[in-house]
Structures are given as C-alpha cells and as structure tokens.
C-alpha cells in the first residue's frame, strides 16, 4: 500500500520540474544562511565592541579610585555601583580568589592563567584581559531568568586583588538572536514549501507531458488521427507546453497527410494504371497467339509502345499529383501570368483551330503573381486539353483578368458538352471521370492535378457555366489565383 503511494512520488522526484524547484530552493536557502551569518556576525561584533569600550571606561574610573583610595575605597565603590547598575557588572576578587563584592557570582575567566603584576608596581588598566561570556539574570520586567551576553575586562592589581568589569551587550543581541531564529524557521518553511510546490509543479508538468506521450504512443501504434488535447487559451497566452502541443499536432497533421498521400499514391497507381496495363497485356497476348505475319507483329509492338508511353505519362501525373497533395514540389517565383497565358494561347491556337473550333484570347497585361511557371503552365494546358477534347463544335475562349480585390482569374470557357451543375464539384475529386467521358482518351487526373496546382498557389479552381450552345451551355474552368503584393 505504502509502496504503491510512494512509487509515483519517487518518479515525480526524478522529474525535471522537481529538480529545478529543489535546486532553486537550495540556492535560496544557501544564500539566506550566508546573508544571515554575515548580518549576525557584524551586529554582534559591533555590539561587543561597544560593550568592550564601555567596560574599559568604567575600569579606568575604578582604577583611579583603586589607586588613590586603595582596596577599601575600591570595594566601597564597587558595592555602591553594583547596587544600582543593571547593565554593568562588577566583581572584586581577593587574592585567594574569593569574591569580595560585586553583582556577579564569579569572574568568567580562569584566573590562574592570568599573569600577576609584581608587588609595588603601577596599576595599569591597559593590561586588562578582555573576554566575552554569558550569564543569567532575571528580566527587569517579567522576572524570568534569561541568559544574556556580556563583554568584560579583568585587571589584576599589584596588591593581589583583581577587578572585573563587564557590560551587558544589551537588547540588540536579543533582537539579533530572535531574527536569526525566525530566519532559520522561515528557511525551513520555505524549503518545505519548495518541496511541496516542486512536487505539485512536477505533477502538473508530468500530467501534460503524459498527454503528449500518450498521443505519440497512440500515433506510433497506428492511430494516425489521434491529436494531443489542446487547452482553450487566448492566442498568444499559451505556455511552452501549449506551443509544444500545437507543434506536435501540426507535425502529426503533416505525417498523416504524407501517409495518406503515400497510401493514395498506391491506390491511384493501381486505379489509373491497372486498366491500361490490362489492355496492353491482352493486346500483346492476342498478337503473340494470332499474328500471322511479321507486319502484324510489328504493328502490335508499335501499338504496345504507344500504350506504354501513355502508361508512363499517367504514372508521372499520378506521382506529381501525390507530391503536390503532400505539399511537396513547386517553387514559387514572381511571374508575369499575362505573358505565360499568351504563350500558351500561341501554343494551343493551331490545335484548336485544327479541331474546327474558333479561338479567342483576351489577356489583360501585367498580371503578376507568385507561381511555379512549369506547374501553372501544365495546369492551364490540362484545362485547354479538356476544353478541346469535350467541345465538338463552336468556340473556346481563353481569358486572363484582374478580379476585384487581390485576385486574378484565368478562364477557359467552351461551348462543349458542359457538366451539370450538381456534378461540377464531384468531378474535381480524384479518380472521377463522368460516364460520358469514358470514351475519351485520358487518365482522368488532369483536373485533380489542376486543383492541386491551384491550391499550391494559394488559389482554387471552380467550374462555372461556359459559352452557350444550341440547347444548353458549355463549361468554364476558372483558375483563381492571388496577385503578388
């Protein structure tokens, strides 16, 4: 039971948050002790110095009495003074060491260690021996016995007597002692708080890290849709964990996209290449079995080569589409679209006219965007290809124009078969070819590629009503792209 409780505690004490909290608490405590020690030593030292001076002054006064009035006069003076002074302490000792008079029980010095001056020599207060000591006395107000500190000087006289005068260090020491005690206790309290606070911080951090760990483990185990829970915070208010969580989620988003792209690449290759490969195989098989002349065989092989080239083209388109959808490829540079569309109009005009359609290009000059020239050209070319393919008669109009706002549009309008309004979004999805288009050659990914290229440029592709034809309306593909600022 206890072990169970202590185990998470032990793992918590190993966390970084806890260690940081402890390190700081230790640092503060160490600093506090140093500061306190310094403060205490200087305060007590100063008080001691003052008491020392006061005691010496009294000793000098008494020495002159001792000198002029001998031991009896001194004894008198000590008895008188001891009776009234509370902060000054006196002891007069006889040559045998017994206390003659004074207000202290004994001299707090080992008198046998002190050199005795020669008999008949001059009394010299400068030779006094100083000492710090503590003693007990009742408090003036409360009467409680308390231990106090004092500083005293002892002077041995040539007559064998000795005089000890001391001065209490006063209430300052008590205050210093009191402050020291408070700080010790406070420091212990701070340390205790630091331990508890550190554990709590560690637990909170551990909880949030746990969420991230659980998420990454779930993703590693194959749950690609899993995301770390995000706290609701005002933008810019998050801490480093929120930032980490957001980055992790963004990374998972990207990984999921890449994995999905890899998966759809496989699917697309299967979907788009299986049928042409099947046709190719059947054709070759039939020729191998039935061809009766070298000419038949050569025809079959040449036909197979053409189909194989088609397979390679589709394969390239699928790969390019997958890379675009995974957010790869494409280098956007400043490009004059008017120029590019003009060149493409030039490239396609003969083929459109050859197909018996009339062609007009209406291009506004100086449209500048950020684009990958090659990809954008491919996208427009795909749309023109489609227009030619699905327009049996009438016309195709290519235009490039500025829209209101910061956008521009490249429009390819035809008077062809058109697409019913309700199916327009559907055909922009991958793999979709309308039944009516199955008889036409093509892989059906041209439109998907155009969509992906538009998105790469921060734009979109929309399908609208095109030019009128006898009983209906053709299609207009509109590539909307943001103009360069």
């Amino acid at each position: 039971m206890l072990k169970k409780l202590l185990l998470p505690l032990r793992s918590l004490t190993r966390t970084t948050s806890f260690r940081v909290a402890m390190a700081f608490a230790g640092l503060f405590a160490g600093f506090a002790v140093l500061l306190l020690g310094f403060l205490y030593a200087t305060t007590v030292g100063r008080l001691g110095l003052e008491a020392d001076r006061a005691a010496r002054q009294v000793l000098v006064e008494l020495s002159s009495i001792w000198q002029t009035e001998a031991i009896d006069g001194l004894n008198m003076a000590v008895i008188q003074r001891a009776a009234r002074a509370s902060d000054t302490l006196y002891v007069l000792v006889q040559p045998d060491g017994k206390v003659l008079s004074g207000n202290l029980d004994a001299v707090p010095l080992d008198l046998s260690q002190i050199d005795k001056p020669e008999a008949g020599s001059q009394l010299n207060p400068a030779q006094a021996v100083a000492t710090s000591f503590s003693y007990e006395r009742p408090d003036v107000d409360t009467g409680r016995i308390e231990r106090r500190r004092a500083r005293g000087v002892f002077l041995a006289g040539p007559d064998g007597f000795g005089l000890f005068v001391a001065r209490d260090l006063g209430p300052g020491v008590q205050i210093a002692d009191y402050v020291a005690r408070v700080i010790w206790l406070g420091g212990a309290g701070v340390l205790a708080f630091a331990v508890v606070g550190g554990l709590m911080a560690a637990r909170q951090a551990a909880g949030r890290v746990d969420e991230l760990t659980r998420t990454t483990r779930a993703v590693m185990a194959g749950d690609l849709q899993r995301r770390a829970a995000v706290r609701t915070i005002a933008p810019g208010d998050g801490d480093e964990f929120d930032a980490l969580t957001e980055d992790l989620n963004a990374m998972l988003e990207r990984i999921e996209r890449l994995v999905t792209a890899a998966r759809t690449t496989g699917d697309s290759i299967a979907h788009d290449l299986r049928s042409p490969l099947t046709r190719l195989r059947a054709r070759l098989e039939a020729s191998a079995a039935k061809a009766s002349s070298p000419e038949d065989l050569r025809d079959a092989i040449e036909d197979a080569l053409i189909q194989l080239d088609g397979v390679v083209t589709t394969f390239n388109a699928v790969l390019r589409l997958s890379r675009l959808e995974a957010g790869e490829g494409g280098k956007l540079e400043t490009l004059d679209v008017s120029l590019l569309v003009g060149q493409l109009a030039d490239l396609f005009e003969p083929v459109i006219e050859e197909a018996g359609l009339s062609f007009t290009a209406d291009i506004e000059p100086d449209l500048i965007i950020k684009a990958d020239r090659s990809l954008l050209a491919q996208s427009i070319s795909n749309l023109l290809d489609n227009a030619v393919k699905y327009t049996p008669e009438g016309e195709i109009r290519l235009s490039a124009k500025r829209l209101s706002g910061r956008d521009m549009a490249i429009c390819i309008a035809d008077s062809g078969a058109g697409i019913p309004v309700e199916q327009r979004n559907h055909v922009l999805e991958r793999f979709v070819r309308l039944d009516s288009a199955r008889s036409q050659p093509g892989s059906g990914i041209g439109l998907s590629l155009a969509v992906a290229i538009a998105e790469l440029h921060g734009g979109r592709l929309s399908l609208e009503d095109g030019l009128p034809r006898g009983d209906g309306v053709g299609l207009e593909a509109r590539l909307i792209l943001p103009l360069a600022s």
Partner: protein, 223 residues
Amino acid sequence: MRVLIVEDAGETALYMRRALEEAGHVVDLAADGPTGEMMARGGAFDVLVFDRMLPKKDGLSVVADLRTAGIATPVLFLSALGDVEHRVEGLKAGGDDYLAKPYAASELIARVEALGRRHEGGAASTHLKVGELEMDLLARVVRREGRKIDIQPREFRLLEYLMRNANQVVTRTMLLEKVWDYHFDPQTNVIDVHVSRLRSKIDRDFDKPMLHTVRGAGYRLEA
C-alpha cells in the same frame, strides 16, 4: 561521334550502346562515378551521358567536378527522377540536357546528336542555310530558292531550331522543351499541328519536301 555512357545498370547500358552504335556512333561504357569521371577527364568525347544515381559517386557530383576542372564536354543526364526541380538540379550541376527514364531509344539518340552538334559551334551565326532554305536571324526573313516565305514569329523559332539541327531527328518533347520551354506532356498533339502548319509553308509550293516525319520518333529537316 564519340560518346561516353556512365550507367550502372548493365543491361540498360548495353542496350543504349547498341542503339547509339547502330546510329553510327562510337560508345565507351563506365559503370560507376569515379571510373566515369576518370574516363571523361582522359578521353576525347563529344558527348557524356551520365545516370544521376551512380555507385561510389553520384552523377551530379561527378559532373560538377568535371565543370570545375574546366571540362566543357556536353552532358546529358538520365534519371528516374523526372520532376522539374530534379531537372533544374541537373542543369545547375553543369548538365546540358536532362532525360527522364523510361525513354525511347530515338529520343536518346536525337538528344545526344543535338548536344554533339551544338558543341561543334556555329550557334552564334546570324544566317542559317539548309539546302535551298535560308534564314536571316537579324532581318527575321526566311527564303527558299530565293523566294520569301511569310512566317509567323512562333513558326520562326520552330524553324530556327529545326535548321540548327538539320538532318537530325528532333523529337516532339525536344521541340516542346527547347522551343517553348515547357517540361510536361501535353495530351493533345499541339506540336504536330505546329509542325504541319510550318510544313505547309515551306514545302507546299516546292517539288521536294524538306520537313519529314520520322515515324515513332519525331521530325527531321533535310537539305
């Protein structure tokens, strides 16, 4: 033409050698980067064909080093990486042309020959002449047998390229890349239509056709 092929896939290399030899060229083979680099430095080749990915030292590094060493022999890169940025990388490393796998033998031969011819010089001339067909690049005038032919600007560029590569096969992809600077596969036959329009202008009123279609490969302008 002497051609060095640096390609690690043995069967592909042999197939390429046979195709180029049948077209009348002398071919040497190398199977890895350092060997290819050594041979390219030592031999007098007209065109170098490098696979992008080679054992020991990749094709891009080898070609970059050859260029740094001052060897200017034209380089054709072959690569399974066919996207535009790969092409740009190849050209930046010092390649002169880039061909994505898989390719037709005719495409390979046409590009190798175009590179070899370009190296022979003459690119700076302002007057082109193929048989009785003449082009003045400054006045932008085309004449056949002295008669002026009315030609559109886009047909002018197409004809210029064909004349610079006269008597050679040029493929549709080469025309799209070199004349229009596009690197994708248009599904419709845009190039064919342009060529047939050009042909109607330069051949229609004359007895002998100059612009020929080479089946399964491309076009050839003959004197």
